[in-house]
Amino acid sequence: MNITIAIFFVIGIIALVGALGVVASRNVVYSALFLLLSLIMVAGLYILLYADFLAIVQILIYGGAIVIVIFFALMLTRTREMPLRLDNPKKPWAIVASLAAFALLATTTALTHWKILVTTPERVSYQVLGRTLFTQWAVPFEIASILLLVALVGAIVIARPGGRE
């Protein structure tokens, strides 16, 4: 067992623990913190996959933006209802469904014979990635920016006070 695989296991286990914390914690703020932990571990996985740019994006957007927004949302929607019940009555079924899905995915992964074409993975340079994104993928990129704009406007319109309350 070489060192990269050991690192992979460490990162992966932390990510899974974080994920379990998100779905099992009895405190919503702890959940959010666990989410942050898990997402940063995923960034580590990206580095193990030689996707440095993506790792940076992951930390910036997920760690820096999305989790913060989620914190705000949690703050603004504090309920005073006590005791706090975070799980719904269909929890046993949820366990069944997720275990079934995992069994299916794991079986499929194990049974499939993967044709690995690469023996030595290579790093994609930022320059090449950026050039490709702005030439070959320029149109989807612009559409994505329009999508963000629309989401921005929509979020403002929906969350704005006023209107029919």
Partner: protein, 102 residues
């Protein structure tokens, strides 16, 4: 080199934990967090496949970037809806929002 299957199993586990969160939680914000977990699992898959099967084209990375973009937009909108919901009903529990039926 880490085998592809490791990433796939990890991503499957992450995905299913997220799925469990979506199914079992009743707080809308917690459900959104679980959805983020699922999206990340998908991204891991995309990048892993790309890196192991065709690294020179890095299509998976490009895809992951777009997925992250869409996820950001989705979170922004969804949280706006949650806030609006809270203001109207002083609750963000999805099982209390059930008037859109027969």
């Amino acid at each position: 080199m880490i085998p592809l299957e490791y990433f796939l199993i990890l991503s499957a586990a992450l995905f299913c934990i997220g799925l469990y969160g979506v199914l079992a939680r009743r707080n809308a914000v917690l459900i959104l967090m679980s959805i983020e977990l699922m999206l990340n699992a998908v991204n891991i898959n995309l990048v892993a496949f790309s890196s192991r099967l065709a690294p020179s084209e890095f299509l998976g990375q490009i895809f992951a970037i777009f997925v992250i973009t869409v996820a950001a937009a989705e979170v922004g909108l969804a949280l706006a809806i949650v806030i609006r919901l809270y203001r109207n009903r002083t609750s963000v529990n999805v099982d209390e929002i059930d008037i859109m039926k027969w």
